[in-house]
């Protein structure tokens, strides 16, 4: 009895500090993230351009998802799906090579028998592109991939050295450059390359920590049984690495949906080409247009759609990475509490 009372006093005297300590976080979260999110929903139910204050209900969503009468609406509908498609293409095109590259590197880096000097150095170098400002990377590659006929960028010059890009000697020495900035697939491939270049080091290190988390006795047993490294990879590493790979897949998908800096800056005249415009760029352009031209409602609606896609992906990742020990503990605690209740009932409700 006395211990119960004691516990109550203790919890009363310290619980308020808990609230006090987490208050700033939730206050700021509410004002700068949750309210903006709700505000995005509100904006998405309102009009565009001059009619920003007008209540439109679900009209914006209808326009974006199903199109409708009128040229303007059709343009919005088509451009949303084109941007979604672009986002997906750019993401797939960087994720597959990125995963293949980082998975193979992670396996090789963690293989104990291989004697490769300078592993630490390679790791550091391969992670380097990830920390460089994405805006700088975009502008840098824009310079390197320059397609000007008189003064091409480094990539076209290298291609010229290999004889792929020809230089017209008669007509004032103009280069016959590959259109790495303007071309549809050329520019997409450059962006995929940049994304892979920036992210494979990060994925590699994550996968490496996953491989190092696998019980080493499994690898030992396999090597004693004479398994080849291919067998070890297929039968041990890959199955045990699946959760972490799925997590990587989903975080990369969420990151891919937000792809903004590089597609937005990879052009010479502030005019993002249609074949590399992503959803994030579209939303940005919609609410950044001139006062009467803005498409606040559409921007809001597209953001909300993006939010639900992200939420679904996030919940899957959350489900996969939750703390299994913690859940088991909670179950145990609940069980114990139930048993204690039953017991106390046996003694007529008096706790001993």
């Amino acid at each position: 009895m006395s211990s119960n009372a004691h516990r109550r006093i203790k919890s009363v005297s310290y619980a308020k500090y808990g609230y006090f300590f987490i208050l700033p976080f939730f206050l700021v979260y509410f004002f700068f993230q949750l309210w903006p999110l709700i505000n995005t929903f509100i904006v998405s139910f309102h009009g565009n351009g001059k009619d920003v204050a007008e209540w439109m209900g679900l009209q914006n969503y209808k326009d974006i998802l199903f199109g409708g009468e009128g040229r303007k609406v059709r343009v919005i509908h088509e451009s949303f799906f084109r941007c979604l498609g672009n986002t997906f293409i750019l993401w797939i095109g960087n994720f597959i090579p990125q995963l293949a590259l980082s998975l193979s590197l992670a396996v090789w880096f963690t293989e104990a028998q291989l004697k490769i000097p300078g592993k630490g150095f390679f790791k550091v170098v391969m992670y380097l592109p990830n920390i460089i400002t994405a805006a700088s990377v975009a502008v840098l590659f824009l310079q390197l991939c320059g397609q000007s006929e008189t003064n091409p960028g480094a990539v076209n010059l290298i291609l010229h050295k290999f004889g792929i890009v020809s230089k017209d000697v008669i007509g004032q020495g103009l280069y016959d450059t590959v259109k790495l900035v303007e071309g549809k697939w050329e520019s997409r491939i450059v962006i995929m390359f940049i994304q892979t270049w920036m992210w494979f080091g990060n994925t590699m290190i994550m996968l490496m920590s996953g491989i190092q988390g696998i019980n080493p006795s499994l690898f030992e047993a396999a090597s004693i049984d004479g398994a080849s490294s291919g067998q070890v990879f297929r039968k041990i590493t890959l199955p045990l690495l699946t959760p972490i790979m799925a997590y990587t897949l989903i975080t990369s998908m969420i990151g891919g949906l937000q792809m903004f800096d590089i597609p937005f800056l990879y052009n010479k005249d502030m005019n993002v080409r249609d074949h590399i415009k992503t959803v994030a760029v579209m939303i940005y352009q919609y609410f950044h247009a001139q006062a009467n031209e803005n498409k606040m409602g559409y921007a809001g609606a597209a953001s909300v759609l993006l939010f639900f896609v992200t939420l679904t992906l996030g919940l899957i990742a959350f489900y996969m990475t939750r703390d299994k020990d913690e859940i088991a503990k909670k179950k145990m605690r609940k069980k114990a509490a139930k048993e204690a209740k039953l017991e106390s009932r046996q003694f007529g409700g008096i706790r001993l």
């Binding site: 700088s136 310079q143 953001s303 992200t310």
Partner: protein, 299 residues
């Protein structure tokens, strides 16, 4: 018999070591190629920053030239750059915003994680679950509402919307909580209480020093993320004078070709924007790599 055995097994062993050596050699070569791919763009950038415009248009080169100083003078004094790119203001503004937001992120995340970890209160589990759930919601999704709200508050074109939101960083709280779970025993808090230490002082003078490793790793990542951020400043600082722009914003203005046509100076300007972070990375790379492996930090 034994001789026979020796010859058989010795052969197998030789075969095995040879195979391993061969594989190691091939992989080493492959790693070197990847290293070159990783570094080549940055190398060309730095080389071209030292060359003049006519040099660059004449062809590729892998040895530095002597135009670094004249390029630098052009970056500082040429009219096109004067309107769009001021490296010193860029450093200053980016550094100011980044330092403030890094401090807020680290301090308040530690505070929140401490509050959840140490105290027992009714909403403890609920609040932690909320933090885990909102960890994945990206900035881009809320940006339309964020900008509209900031415009209502008349906070656009100020630094406040770039600094204050750093207080709420769910991923960092999650990391700190995991760290505390493994290496912050609650007995220490009990002991401090018995010695008459106030709750907030316990946090400041006991919890923070004990969490130094976690704080250092998260501070590095928060710093990089904020330094590299282009989306938020570009959205909030809609029309500010050049002296208030951040470094990524200035770099982004280099893209348009009609204003900037001296390639050497453009390369130098880009190089100036990424060299500080590369130097910082080289100095801190050990912690950064360890941190990525620990937290799975993905921006």
């Amino acid at each position: 018999m034994s001789n026979n055995m020796k010859s058989v097994y010795g052969k197998a062993k030789d075969n095995y070591t040879l195979k391993i050596k061969l594989k190691s050699g091939i992989l080493f070569l492959w790693f070197v190629i990847l290293t070159i791919i990783c570094l080549l763009p940055i190398y060309i950038l730095i080389i071209n920053a030292t060359r003049s415009h006519t040099d660059i248009s004449n062809g590729l080169s892998f040895v530095p030239s002597t135009y670094l100083k004249s390029n630098f003078n052009k970056v500082l004094n040429e009219p096109a750059f004067k309107f769009a790119f001021n490296i010193f203001h860029g450093y200053k503004n980016s550094l100011f915003i980044t330092c403030c937001s890094t401090f807020l992120t680290v301090f308040f995340s530690a505070l929140t994680a401490y509050g959840i970890h140490v105290y027992d209160f009714k909403l403890k589990e609920v609040s932690y679950t909320v933090i885990l759930l909102v960890m994945m919601v990206p900035m881009q999704v809320t940006s339309a509402g964020f900008v509209a709200f900031m415009a209502d508050l008349k906070l656009t074109n100020t630094y406040w919307p770039l600094i204050i939101p750093a207080v709420a960083a769910p991923a960092v709280v999650y990391f700190m909580r995991s760290y505390m779970k493994s290496s912050f025993p609650l007995d220490i808090v009990e002991a401090a209480r018995i010695d008459g230490c106030g709750e907030f002082r316990t946090f400041l003078s006991i919890a923070i020093p004990m969490m130094k490793p976690a704080i250092a790793v998260q501070a590095i990542f928060a710093f990089i993320a904020s330094w590299n951020n282009f989306y938020n400043p570009n959205m909030i600082l809609i029309n500010v004078p050049l002296t208030k722009k951040t470094l990524p914003m200035m770099v982004s203005s280099l893209q348009s070709s009609d204003k900037f046509n001296d390639y050497g100076t453009i390369y130098l300007a880009i190089a100036l924007s990424i060299i500080p972070i590369i130097i910082a990375y080289v100095a801190l790379s050990r912690f950064i790599i360890a941190g990525v492996a620990l937290g799975g930090v993905k921006e």
